[in-house]
Amino acid sequence: MREKALHLKNLVKRFGGRTVVDIKDITLGTHGIEGLIGPNGAGKTTLISLITHKVSMDQGQILYYKDRKEIDISKKSLDEISRLGLVRTNQIIQDFESLTIRDSLLLSLATSKQEKFYNIFNEKELRKSTEKEIEKYLDYFHFENPDGHALSAGEKKLLDIIRCMLLKPKFLLMDEPTAGLPQNQTEKVIELMREKTNEEGMSILIVEHDLDLIWKVTENVHFMSEGQILIQGTPDEIRNNKTVITKYMGGCDA
């Protein structure tokens, strides 16, 4: 068990008349890697968007814990939340068209001090100080041409994950991180997630439909359905839970 990273209280989000997320009282991030599963339309992605304030909530409160301090992030903006160490990867591929793979990673590493309109002569220094870190990831995932643009969906997906990892978040929300990745890259992402959680104290929440991955990787699983988190428990508990089986895994075949 770890100290919790997030505490959601009475979180509600409606789209039109439909309540998409309705969470009473949930803590997240008490384990290294947690899973969030549920049928399509359960509100998993919306929940992640609410936490990072990509979408604003209708009511409720989100508390974030960092260095033993409690921070209310309900009113903070997307970029502020990211700077606090709460970062998400995207389910739908997101990329910067004009930036090469290396540029994209440099963007992630550049500090706000280096990003001033009058500060345009620091490129060498920045590249030198970040070379090691960037090379490490580029070698690890074997990008064919790091100075070109990310072409395939898989490359873009990996790039999204690496950009987030470079920010060294405290709590990383990963929305279907391995969808569209080949098997060997999936293994590498999992390996990386394990390394980060064990060695750097990062907590990760993954949303996935690949249940084998969930059972294999996570220490704790939240089951979400119709906007509510119904059941929380270890992978084994969730796997054998009757509600989960009927609502998600298709009846009685488990």
Partner: protein, 300 residues
């Protein structure tokens, strides 16, 4: 040679440089940051009028008037930017266009300051070198333009340039990486509008005499067409575009090509029609402009 150094030619070339500067600044705003500024002429005219007022009404020296007109343009664009820059592209377009229109109307209606349609004059050159005064001023503008282009080139390979490109490409993703994009947009918009104001202030002594009709929306459209024509993604796209539009029509055809006098007055009217035709042709056959886009090199 005589024609080249004659007063009119220097005057024309000076304006060509001003236009190139404006197109380069539009490249910074639109092609790098994604800010759809359709009110370039507003900031330019604003800088020009403020400079003229400071010099004529308050008797300020050249340098002080230039600095102050930049600062005042900056303050105005800061206010405008904080209102419109978190809206979508269409709203920014309308907002900036409205700003330019407001400036044009204010210069007409506020007669106590601007003399209305009568215009303001005479705006003096900052120095007097006898017959080569115009040439020296031309060289001064040239130096400013070169500095601007060097800055733009350097910016594109700096961390700030990458940040601006990321805002243009995908602002939400950029924010989710912790970049305060709204703040950066306001800062950069203010900075670049100050540059437009600066070149506006430089235009005032060139014109000598300024009046509201000079700051109509035609200039904005010309600059946009020039940038599109030259290649909006390229550093020198603005320059090529300006030479192909303003340079070709206003100077080459009007000064070098012998047009019978009875047709001469048709040229300015035809100009915009031909700009439009050129734009349509370019967009059809070379959508990224004359210079086009650098191919995405895929080294294997």
């Amino acid at each position: 040679m005589e024609l080249l150094l004659s007063g009119y030619m220097i005057y024309s070339l000076s304006f060509l440089l001003i236009y190139i500067a404006l197109a380069t600044i539009l490249h910074l705003q639109f092609s790098i940051t994604g800010i759809v500024n359709f009110g370039i002429v507003g900031f330019w005219g604003f800088g020009m009028y403020i400079f003229a007022l400071l010099q004529l009404k308050l008797g300020m020296p050249f340098v002080l008037a230039i600095v102050l007109s930049c600062i005042i343009t900056g303050i105005v664009s800061l206010i405008l930017g904080s209102i419109i820059l978190n809206l979508d592209d269409q709203a920014v377009l309308v907002g900036t266009l409205a700003f330019a229109t407001i400036i044009e109307y204010l210069t007409t209606t506020e007669k106590w300051a601007t003399n209305g349609v009568m215009g303001l004059g005479t705006i003096k050159m900052p120095f007097d070198f006898g017959p080569v005064t115009d040439l020296v001023f031309f060289l001064f503008i040239l130096v400013c333009l070169v500095l601007l282009i060097l800055y733009t080139a350097k910016l594109k390979t700096s961390s700030y340039g990458r940040l601006l490109l990321s805002i243009k490409d995908n602002e939400v993703l950029s924010r989710s990486l912790g970049k305060p994009t709204f703040r950066h947009k306001i800062i950069f918009f203010t900075f670049t509008c100050m540059l437009i104001g600066f070149f506006g202030a430089l235009s005032a002594p060139l014109y000598n005499y300024i009046f509201p009709r000079m700051i109509g929306p035609g200039i904005t459209f010309t600059i946009w067409i020039a940038l599109m024509l030259g290649g909006r993604t390229r550093l020198l796209g603005g320059m090529v575009g300006v030479v192909a539009t303003v340079g070709l029509f206003d100077y080459f055809i009007e000064t070098v090509v012998p047009i019978p006098t009875e047709y001469a007055e048709m040229v300015p009217n035809f100009k915009f029609a031909l700009y439009g035709l050129m734009l349509i042709l370019i967009l059809m056959f070379r959508p990224l402009g004359i210079l086009g886009d650098r191919k995405r090199e895929v080294k294997r």
